[in-house]
Symmetry: C2
DNA sequence: GACGGTGAGACACCCGGCGTCTTATCGTCT
DNA sequence: AGACGATAAGACGCCGGGTGTCTCACCGTC
């Protein structure tokens, strides 16, 4: 029942942000929308506004990562898995209506959240979501490194699209991955080779 | 050039209200949108926020009344003129997107503006817009009375639609006008009779 | 009857928007 | 060039209202 209250308040917060913007909504607004008193809200989210926003960001990020992970089911090898993550994540980001609105209204705020303040959280959550998947193909340390790298790359190319790579296109993502992520011999042909990299420092125990 | 500034600021105000709502927008927001400093805004609208809102309400009302008056061009008699005003005004009110938004978000605010605070202004402006037209058919005093009555009736039936009359339909409006506004003998047939009412107290001097 | 959860409200704090004023700067006109 | 009006930028005090915390009363459950 406590989780229900949390979800209720977070839903209300999301609605208030959509209606009035992040900097204009009010705790009282959220309470009205969630049909609860301020005391209850502060009891569920000690610290108030900042805690609330942080919890909402975490929840939104979790549903985002869940969506991405759903599209990696049939991945057969490491390259395929990574490419799928990149394409799905990129197109999801591009089609996020609320994100577009916020990018138009307050680009600085979004950029900060995606490049400075938010990166540790994003990397942490993405790690818990995708490391187990990557560990099917590489060892743990390599998986951790890859997740962090991919998070940073996807975010960067989303915020400032390159004319060279469009990660919503699987071919572009694959080219990029072969060249800069799983960099074996750059003459690798198009045959689907599940080659591990030559940099594996520790074999799985 | 001063009028240009006024229009610029009022446009900006309208945009800010659409984006953030009447109670959430800020003078600084308007200045940003209007590309002027706060000093300039306060010089153009002494008294600040309230003066600004009042000026915007007047301007919006003026464009509304202008629109209504545009649709009364071919009016041949008094009944036709009044019916046209009622139908056009009602459907204009119903199709006003911003008004609908505000009615959904803050019904009390809109109702107050349309029934208490705003009525004197609306009656005053509507009088200057429509009295000359009505004076083609009735004397001045009767015209003043009619305009005020029609304003109140249209507003009331817009805010709380009746199952009996839908003033967007010309027939309903005509029925109402014959029965309660230009009340001659209630057995009046459908022939377009330009009868003045029997209640004319003062003949034109 | 004890207890956890909730609503309602009081309280002090303080941020930020408001309205006013002053100063510097720019363009225009004489 | 000099005078003048309009504007931008900023400082200033004021104050409303949002914030975060606390207390108390109430309700349903066990």
């Amino acid at each position: 029942m406590a989780g229900d209250l949390e979800a209720q308040v977070l839903d209300a917060t999301k609605g208030c942000i959509e209606r009035w913007g992040v900097e204009r909504f009010t705790i009282a607004d959220v309470c009205r929308a969630a049909c609860c008193s301020r005391a209850t809200l502060y009891r569920a989210f000690p610290g108030g506004r900042e805690t609330l926003l942080e919890a909402l960001r975490v929840r939104e990020l979790e549903t985002f990562l869940t969506t991405v992970r759903l599209h990696t089911d049939g991945a057969t090898d490491l390259e395929d898995l990574i490419v799928r993550c990149m394409t799905v994540a990129t197109s999801e980001l591009r089609h996020d209506e609320q994100l577009a609105t916020m990018l138009a209204a307050a680009p600085g705020e979004v950029a900060t959240q995606l490049t400075v303040d938010g990166v540790p959280r994003i990397v942490r959550l993405a790690t818990t979501y995708f490391t187990p998947l990557l560990e099917q193909f590489v060892d743990r340390d390599r998986a951790l490194e890859l997740v962090e790298l991919l998070v940073r790359v996807v975010i960067s190319y989303f915020l400032s699209p390159s004319s060279r790579y469009d990660f919503a296109r699987a071919e572009d993502a694959r080219d990029f991955v072969r060249l800069h992520v799983l960099s074996t011999t750059p003459t690798a042909s198009t045959t689907s080779n599940t080659t591990n990299t030559t940099h594996d420092r520790s074999t799985r125990p």
